[in-house]
Each structure stands twice: as structure tokens, then as C-alpha cells.
């Protein structure tokens, strides 16, 4: 029986690897379909035809696309992400510090939102139909139904404009003390936590409610177990798989959320770098950023699936 799970997990990982290849392919081709010749765009209008031809040769632009894709892949495997068009710095150097900033933002958000969302989701499911449950449900539907930038603007209006507790903009370099640090991270983290938690609360609540409607929970009820014992002892251990699945899936919303949040708060992370790169059409930079985001996203949804497979007692 054990090998059945292993097979399924391996199969899922295999699919993830194939998907990754397709995604890399898609990112590469979307960015190399750019209208106009990259070499002449780079050199500007005053360039001589010889110079353009020389640059095309140097950049391997005359080679077939599939060969360039393979060359790019080989470069990736060696850790060579290419050189930025805009300022001719190695992409890896541009991304390095930014990636750390984004990971910090994502990490703090995860640490805050997971306990918050699990508590709210599980208690809402326990008190299903109560005023508390309905308030939590309506609030989370509300947050899911509006764009992330609206959550961000409302948070700025509340905390920075009316209450004047926090600054509206972030600048990581100015952090000298712990209070500075808190003030800088507060707005982006609050916004992201709202967005992520809303998803997580809904999924957690649904997972627990589904478990609560199973026959063995009814049995626990009939034998006279208290409500908290019924949930904590009987339902939760079995709902753990679906809940971890929900957490991983919700965290994948970080990818979309972080793009908006870094832009609105001017946070020096990798998403802001990518949005700026799109504005200047800096292809190697866009490719690398897109790849990092896809990797993170793919990792989270694969992790969610693997947890779902492993936690299914029928397969164990």
C-alpha cells in the first residue's frame, strides 16, 4: 500500500517537472515574440547596419529559436541568468537582494496569516450558522471579491491617513531600529495578510465542515462527546490534510498579491523589479523574474497536491 502513495507522489512530481519545462518554454517564447528586432532597439536609430548585424551575431539572434531556448536553459543550469538590457548589469546581481526582500515580506505574511486564518476558519466551521460564522464568511467573501489594490488603498486610508499610525510608503534602507522595521513592513504585510487569510479562511472552513458531516463525527456526537472534543479529537486530525492543502493553495495567492502590494507601497522587492522591467522591456530581467515566480507558484501547488495525496487514508 505504501508504494501506491509513493507512486502517486512521484507521478505528481513528474508532472510538475514537465509543467515547469512547458512554463519555461512559454515564458521564453512570449518574451522573444517581441515585435521589432532586439538588436536594433538596443542600438537605437543611429546604429549602422553593420553594428546591428554584429550585435545580432553576438546575441545569437540569428540562431533558430529552439537553439536559443536550449542555450538559455543551459545558462540557467549554470546559474547564468543573462545580462540586463537596461543597465547592463548581470540579472543575478539585480535580483539577489530584491529576492531576499520579497521572501522576507512573504515569510512575515505567512507567519501572521496562517495562525490567524486557521483559528478563524476552524472556529467559524465549529459555530456554523452563528452570527460569528456569518460575519467571518461575509468579510472573507468581501475581501476576495475586491481587487488587492483596493484592500491596500483602504488600509492606507485607515492606518496612514485617518489614524496616522503608519507611513504610506516603505523604504527598507531607512530601517535603523525595530520600531522602524515594524513601521516599514506593517502596511504591505497587513494588506497581504488580508488577501491571503480571506482565501485560507474560506478553504479551511469548507474542509472542516466537510469533515464534520462525516458519519464518524456524527457517531462521536451520538455517544455524547462535547463539541470541542468532537472537533479537536475526531474531526481535526482527519481534516489536517485538506487544511494543509488549503494553506499551500492560499499561499500561492501571494504571487499575485505581492505584485500589486510591492508596486503600491514602493517596496523594493522582485515584483516591483519585474513591473519596472516590463515598462522598460528589459527581456532577460522579465524572463528571470517570471521564472522565479512560476517556480514558487508551482512549488506551492505541487506541495498542496502531494499533501492531499499523502493525507488520504484510503491510499495509505
Amino acid at each position: 500500500m505504501k508504494s501506491g502513495v509513493l507512486n502517486l507522489v512521484l507521478k505528481r512530481l513528474g508532472i510538475a517537472a514537465i509543467t515547469l519545462l512547458i512554463v519555461l518554454f512559454a515564458v521564453f517564447f512570449a518574451t522573444s515574440m517581441l515585435p521589432g528586432d532586439t538588436a536594433s532597439i538596443l542600438l537605437g536609430q543611429a546604429a549602422t547596419p553593420e553594428a546591428v548585424a554584429g550585435l545580432r551575431e553576438a546575441m545569437h539572434l540569428n540562431d533558430p529559436a529552439i537553439l536559443r531556448f536550449l542555450l538559455w536553459l543551459v545558462g540557467l543550469l549554470h546559474g547564468d541568468l543573462g545580462t540586463s538590457y537596461a543597465n547592463e548589469m548581470p540579472v543575478a546581481a539585480l535580483i539577489g537582494g530584491r529576492l531576499v526582500n520579497t521572501m522576507k515580506l512573504a515569510g512575515i505574511t505567512t507567519l501572521l496569516s496562517v495562525p490567524l486564518a486557521l483559528t478563524l476558519g476552524i472556529t467559524a466551521a465549529m459555530l456554523r450558522g452563528s452570527v460569528y460564522d456569518r460575519t467571518v464568511t461575509i468579510l472573507s467573501i468581501g475581501v476576495i471579491s475586491v481587487p488587492e489594490f483596493m484592500v491596500a488603498t483602504l488600509a492606507v486610508l485607515l492606518f496612514a491617513v485617518y489614524l496616522r499610525w503608519l507611513p504610506a510608503l516603505s523604504s527598507v534602507n531607512e530601517a535603523h531600529s525595530l520600531t522602524d522595521l515594524v513601521r516599514i513592513y506593517a502596511m504591505p504585510v497587513i494588506t497581504l495578510t488580508f488577501v491571503i487569510s480571506a482565501q485560507m479562511i474560506r478553504m479551511t472552513r469548507a474542509a472542516v465542515i466537510e469533515t464534520l458531516s462525516t458519519p464518524y463525527v456524527e457517531m462521536a456526537l451520538l455517544k455524547g462527546a462535547s463539541r470541542s472534543r468532537m472537533v479537536l479529537k475526531h474531526a481535526l486530525p482527519n481534516a489536517l490534510g485538506p487544511i494543509v492543502n488549503a494553506v499551500a493553495l492560499s499561499l500561492s495567492y501571494l504571487v499575485g498579491g505581492v505584485i500589486i502590494v510591492e508596486t503600491i507601497f514602493n517596496y523594493p522587492g522582485i515584483a516591483k523589479l519585474m513591473v519596472d522591467a516590463v515598462a522598460t522591456r528589459d527581456l532577460p530581467l522579465i524572463q528571470s523574474c517570471a521564472m522565479i515566480f512560476c517556480l514558487g507558484y508551482l512549488f506551492l501547488i505541487t506541495a498542496a497536491d502531494v499533501v492531499a495525496i499523502m493525507s488520504n487514508p484510503r491510499l495509505r
Binding site: I18, T31, S145, P147, V161
Partner: protein, 283 residues
């Protein structure tokens, strides 16, 4: 058999009393649709005219929603923005759902390698985060209304496909499908006359949800400056261009956000308040 099922469901559909929330939500959606169609005729000022001496003006008589960062009438701009937000999203969701549902039904009916290849490919597409996909496409081909519609549609085809296929696979195992196959009916007949009438209600509910996703994504892209380009402005672009008014809590920043929220929340509430029979996923 199919016809009998369809008529009974229609009767219960009409006979059902809707909840108040559902009716209000439907009215809000109807109002925005009318505004989107009639926008040029109902705007009090031309959207490009500078009508206020002050920028980020407050709400007052004549300028009911205040003025924007150039002193233009915000009410006119929001009304006109409805046309772009609703229009582009509706076009995109129609393409996405039509293609996704047709492909999903065909995959379910044919099965075999076509089903496997299509499912694998679309699952892979689904593993690209939607905002990122939008960013990369806009970086590659630039932003225009047709590009936006197609991009948004392509991003949401995999979801529509997965949903329709899952429903169609269930129908496919029914006896009347076997009977139709034995009669030697064509795929077009199987898909159009046997499967579609049986999955159309949940598919329509899914259409509404996907419309919300598309409105949110379009607004997000426009907010990043990668959606609709000036002088055109949808609601996301209106928030972007007026973001400078945020420290003064100018209505110009808040109103377009509220417009988006009113539309997306209404669609969600309408779907949630539809009679169980209509949104039942197992049909």
C-alpha cells in the same frame, strides 16, 4: 429525455422566489450594464474636459463625485470607465467560457489521447500565475484592447475547460449517451444536444464567477499601468492615475475602487443566492 429535463428545470427556475439580496445584486449588475451601454449619453461632462479649477476636488453640486488629478469630472470618468471594464471583461469571459466549455465537452465525449493531451496542456497553462501571464504578454506584445481581451480569455480557458469537462464526464456515463452513441450520432450532436443542455446551468454560474476573476485581473493590470492605456481609462486605470490623491482621501481614488467592488460583490452575491438547482455543480 433531455427536453423533459429542461422543461421541468425551467418551471422550477421561474417558480422560485429569489432572496432580497439576490434581487438587489441583480439590479446593481443591470444598472452597470445599462451604464456601460449608454455611457456616452449619460455623462454630464466630456471625459477629457477640465471642469474644476482645483485638482482632487471634493464632492459638491455639479461635480457629484469630485474631480480627478487634472480637475476632470470624476462622475463622467467612472461612468465611461464602466464601459471599458464591463465590456472588455464580458468579451473576455465569453471567449474563455465558450472555448473552454466546447473543448471540455469534446474532451469528455471523445476521451483517449485527445483528452489526455488537452488536459495536460491546459493544466500546465493553469500553473502560470494569472497576473504574471498578463505581465509577460503585455511586455511582449504591448497593451491594446484586443490584446487584453485575448490575454484575459486565454488565462481563464483552462479553468472553464476543467469545470466543463468534470461535469461532462459525469453526463457521459449516462444511459442516454450510450443510446445516442449506438444510434450513431455525430460528436456535434452529442455535445450540442445531449451534453450541453444538461450542464448549462452550472456552466452559467461558473461564467459569472469567471467574470469576477476577469474584472479583478483587468483592474489589477490596469492599476499596474499595463492594462488600458491613456487616454482610455477603465476603473483600475482610474485608481492608478488618481493614486496621488490617497493622502488626502480624495473621492477620485475611492470611487473607482467602490465601483469595482459593487460589481464584483454583486455578481458573487447573485450567484450565491441563485436557487440551489441552478448552481448545483452536479447538475
Amino acid at each position: 429525455m433531455t427536453i423533459a429535463r429542461a422543461t421541468t428545470s425551467r418551471r422550477s427556475f421561474l417558480g422560485h422566489s429569489y432572496s432580497l439580496v439576490g434581487v438587489v445584486a441583480a439590479l446593481v449588475i443591470l444598472a452597470w450594464t445599462l451604464i456601460a451601454i449608454l455611457a456616452p449619453h449619460v455623462t454630464p461632462h466630456s471625459i477629457g474636459d477640465i471642469v474644476d479649477d482645483d485638482y482632487f476636488g471634493p464632492m459638491r453640486q455639479g461635480l457629484w463625485l469630485g474631480s480627478d488629478y487634472l480637475g476632470r469630472d470624476m462622475l463622467s470618468r467612472v461612468l465611461m470607465g464602466a464601459r471599458y471594464t464591463v465590456g472588455i471583461s464580458l468579451a473576455a469571459v465569453s471567449i474563455a467560457c465558450f472555448s473552454g466549455v466546447v473543448l471540455g465537452m469534446i474532451a469528455a465525449v471523445t476521451g483517449g489521447w485527445l483528452d489526455t493531451c488537452l488536459s495536460r496542456f491546459l493544466d500546465a497553462m493553469n500553473s502560470i500565475p494569472s497576473k504574471l501571464f498578463g505581465l509577460v504578454v503585455v511586455a511582449a506584445v504591448g497593451s491594446s484592447i484586443p490584446v487584453l481581451i485575448l490575454t484575459l480569455a486565454i488565462i481563464y480557458i483552462p479553468g472553464a475547460y476543467r469545470f466543463a469537462r468534470a461535469l461532462a464526464v459525469n453526463i457521459n456515463t449516462m444511459d442516454f449517451m450510450t443510446a445516442a452513441r449506438v444510434r450513431g450520432e455525430s460528436i456535434i450532436y452529442l455535445v450540442g444536444s445531449e451534453i450541453l443542455p444538461n450542464i448549462i446551468r452550472p456552466v452559467l454560474a461558473d461564467f459569472g464567477l469567471r467574470f469576477v476573476f476577469i474584472v479583478l485581473l483587468l483592474s489589477g493590470l490596469s492599476f499596474l499601468g499595463l492594462g488600458l492605456q491613456p487616454p482610455l481609462a477603465d476603473w483600475g486605470a482610474l485608481v492608478r492615475e488618481n493614486i496621488g490623491g490617497l493622502p488626502f482621501a480624495a473621492p477620485a481614488v475611492i470611487i473607482p475602487s467602490l465601483a469595482i467592488a459593487s460589481l464584483t460583490i454583486s455578481v458573487n452575491l447573485l450567484i450565491d443566492n441563485l436557487p440551489q438547482k441552478i448552481r448545483d455543480r452536479d447538475a
